[in-house]
């Protein structure tokens, strides 16, 4: 198994990965994004083999450091790392020295000292991975920070879209839900705009940004609107975000009932999108809230595919970052 999947696929573009960390998608170039997608295609092929495992990252240690609960992101990274032959250490805030008050900086330095090459980190504070990355020589992959960014989710979403649409250039993607507090929406906006898609961010006024509209020079256009029924018309991709029930208690929405009336993706609304539009959700879903169960499991749903693609995309990122650090 000396052949690395990336070599099998090749990139052709000549772009190489030079980043120590992946903190967000905002600074990724079109070429870097293409490199991730191409590498992920090779990884998807690996995942389809009878023995879905290579030894490319043998001797590499990957730590998952999760300060916040997660099912799919942590599991997805663990499977991705193990599929590449890396050793994996899993740490959560509870049950580690974090509970004794160890600082983030000391924690990542400790992980580095025991020989960790890549730290996949999820934190409830926006910007925490940036702090960590500045204070460790280990690579940091942001697995979601507060209400800021979730770059690997955005890249797996993009991978899923591209695998169906060929390219997202000139396509229209509607993201609906709690945009203001969504790390998924923000990171998706950066990759999609960079690749020339038009992005509509949609939700009730209290859950939308008031001042900030993502902008990528030479990229697609981003609009922000409260009118979902108009926004979904002709959309090529509809992405619903998880609506947290506590938003109602905090007075941000009057009730889930009213939210559903205005913003739930259901069969009636999905009909107004482009024929065969892709329905996506980063999970975990509140079925019956942001999505009606029939569309969540319907023909247009790509939700399970997103999860499967997540492993391939995370393999690609681990490979690109770890191979770089060993070069």
């Amino acid at each position: 198994m000396l052949d690395t999947p990336a070599r099998e696929t090749g990139t052709g573009s000549g772009t190489t990965w030079t980043r120590k960390d992946l903190l967000d998608t905002d600074t990724l170039s079109r070429e870097e994004i293409d490199l991730v997608l191409q590498t992920a295609r090779g990884m998807k092929e690996v995942r389809s083999r009878p023995v879905a495992k290579v030894s490319t990252l043998r001797g590499v240690t990957v730590a998952t450091l999760f300060y916040e609960q997660s099912t799919r992101t942590r599991a997805s990274f663990e499977v991705a790392a193990k599929s590449l032959g890396a050793d994996v250490v899993n740490l959560t805030a509870s049950g580690s020295s974090v509970e004794k008050g160890e600082s983030l900086i000391d924690t990542v330095r400790t992980l580095e000292a025991i020989g960790t090459d890549v730290i996949v980190m999820r934190h409830f504070r926006s910007g925490a991975p940036y702090l960590a990355a500045r204070h460790t020589g280990a690579s940091i992959i942001n697995g979601g920070d507060g209400t800021h960014a979730h770059p690997t989710q955005a890249l797996l979403d993009l991978f899923t879209m591209v695998s169906h649409l060929g390219s997202v250039e000139g396509r229209r993607v509607v993201i609906v839900g709690d945009i203001l507090h969504s790390r998924v929406a923000r990171s998706n906006a950066w990759t999609l705009l960079r690749l020339g898609a038009d992005v509509t961010l949609c939700g009730p006024a209290t859950l939308l940004p008031r001042w900030f509209v993502p902008e990528v020079p030479g990229g697609g256009r981003c609009t922000v609107t409260t009118d979902f029924d108009r926004a979904i018309e002709g959309a090529d991709v509809v992405m619903a975000l998880r609506m947290q029930k506590e938003r109602q208690q905090r007075g941000l929405i009057p009730s889930l009932r009213e939210y559903i009336a205005g913003y739930q993706v259901n069969a009636r609304r999905l009909e107004r999108a482009a024929p065969g539009a892709l329905l996506m959700h980063p999970g975990p879903m509140n079925e019956g809230v942001e999505l009606s169960p029939d569309v969540a499991h319907g023909a247009q749903s790509r939700i399970e595919e997103q999860v499967a693609n997540g492993v391939a995309v995370r393999m690609a990122l681990l490979y690109l970052i770890a191979a770089r650090s060993r070069a």
Binding site: S103, L104, R125, S126, Y130, F212, R250
Partner: protein, 441 residues
């Protein structure tokens, strides 16, 4: 060692006296002895102030000396030494110490520490409420008798409107101003920076500008209802400046201050200049750095005299208080040793008239808290009375390097910034107490 000192040929600026001319200043017998052209003093040490500005010692209405209780962040000795080097010869100390001065005995113990360790003149500010908790009033009359120059709960706004009304009524009868941090915390969830494009970009909880304006408006109405003197601490928004202007036009005894940080920086400092967002905890301050439109409104308000004073809100912190996730980091900027530099840089850029800057650092703040009644000549250069003088070189270029500061707080977002204008010499009680290295005498 009350030597005779002749400060020769500087531009002497005493806004209170309407004085702005190239003159000599003679310092002798612990006071400014004479101001005039071509003064002669046999045996006097001569400080050549050609090209420099000679002004009254600066007066700061808002500083955190951290002692007692937070000596790891700063002590009275270190922070007043930093004040001295920043040109501040008179400092009003905020009461967020542990214990906080909410009654006579605590105040007396703090005054005792100040007598022993302070390197500049320090006036204490007393609490509005017991332990600054916003529940019960502090013993205001006892604090007034003990010598506080104002009341404030510092960074903890008095939220309860009835308690605030009563506090103002009592402060009014005592003749003392109440300095209030104007925020409406109920309007946001632990806002860590200004609510706006940058907070939305970085995914950080923001403080809306309306949270400041709402509190300013409420407190002005309560001041009007009670007749008390209200001082708005560190205004940061355009709307707050308008509200203060309106209150002044009504003839209400309302004053306000602005910090050098809010005059010089915007919310953009949190994100930094790099390609990736910096989440710079050294730019985390409460109230937060606002927008460029707000910054310009603050400069206009200062120019127009709506804003009376430039106050540092000097807030030193230990390294570990800032080396954490942004939302968990302490609020505050260590400001004493960069304040004059930032203000004179604004003057050098043409954003602020130097005469106005000097007034807002001297006579303006002295008048807000009536400090000349307690220490004659404070904020002025009155021959025979005033005791403190600062000499500024408005053309001196320097780069901010907090590692060399005497303040224990190295927490500044200005590290590496090039500034124009530096404090060159500081005289307190008629004695040359500090001189900038490399300045020739």
């Amino acid at each position: 060692m009350n030597d005779i000192l002749l400060i020769r040929g500087g531009r002497v600026l005493d806004p209170a006296a309407g004085l702005d001319a190239v003159l000599d200043v003679l310092v002798a017998d612990g006071v400014v002895a004479a101001i005039g052209p071509a003064l002669d003093a046999a045996g006097a040490r001569v400080l050549d102030a050609g090209g420099c500005i000679v002004a009254p010692g600066f007066v700061d209405l808002h500083a955190h000396l951290r002692e007692p209780g937070f000596e790891q962040k700063g002590t009275i000795a270190t922070e007043t030494e930093a004040a001295l080097r920043g040109g501040f010869t008179t400092v009003c100390a905020m009461p967020n110490t542990r214990p906080a001065p909410d009654c006579g005995p605590v105040l007396e113990s703090i005054l005792d520490l100040l007598r022993r360790h302070a390197r500049v003149r320090v006036f204490p500010i007393g609490c509005v409420t017991r332990e600054r908790a916003g529940k019960e009033l502090a013993e205001l009359a006892e604090l007034a008798a003990g010598g506080v120059v104002a009341f404030s709960d510092d960074g903890s706004p008095v939220s309860d409107p009835r308690l605030m009304r009563n506090a103002l009524a009592l402060a009014g009868t005592l003749g003392l101003p109440l300095s209030e941090h104007c925020d409406t915390p109920e309007m946001h969830t632990n806002g860590a920076m200004n609510e706006g494009a940058v907070s939305e970009r970085l995914g950080l909880p923001g403080q809306p500008a309306a949270a400041e304006a709402t509190a300013v408006a409420r407190n002005i109405e309560l001041a009007a209802a009670t007749g008390a003197r209200l001082h708005i601490a560190h205004v940061t928004t355009a709307r707050a400046v308008e509200l203060v202007a309106e209150a002044k036009a009504r003839g209400l005894p309302v004053t306000c201050e602005v910090t050098p940080s809010h005059l010089f920086l915007t919310e953009a400092a949190v994100a930094g200049n790099g390609q990736e967002p910096a989440y710079d905890t050294n730019a985390k301050i409460n109230p937060p750095l606002r927008t460029e439109a707000d910054r310009r409104a603050l400069l206009r308000g200062l120019e127009a005299g709506v804003i009376d004073a430039i106050a540092t809100d000097h807030a030193p912190h230990a390294v570990e208080d800032k080396l954490v996730e942004f939302e968990d980091a302490a609020f505050g900027i260590s400001c004493f040793e960069s304040a004059a530099g930032t203000v004179f840089t604004l003057a050098a850029r043409g954003e602020l008239r130097i005469e106005r800057a000097i007034a807002a650092l001297t006579s303006g703040p002295a008048a807000c808290f009536g400090l000349a009644e307690r220490s004659p000549g404070v904020g002025r250069l009155e021959p025979g009375v005033s005791r403190d003088v600062v000499v500024i070189d408005p053309a001196a270029e320097w780069v901010v390097d907090p590692t060399g500061w005497v303040s224990k707080g190295k927490n500044t977002p200005l590290g590496g910034h090039r500034l124009t204008g530096a404090v060159r010499a500081v005289i307190i009680d008629g004695t040359l107490r500090w001189e900038r290295e490399g300045a020739s005498v």
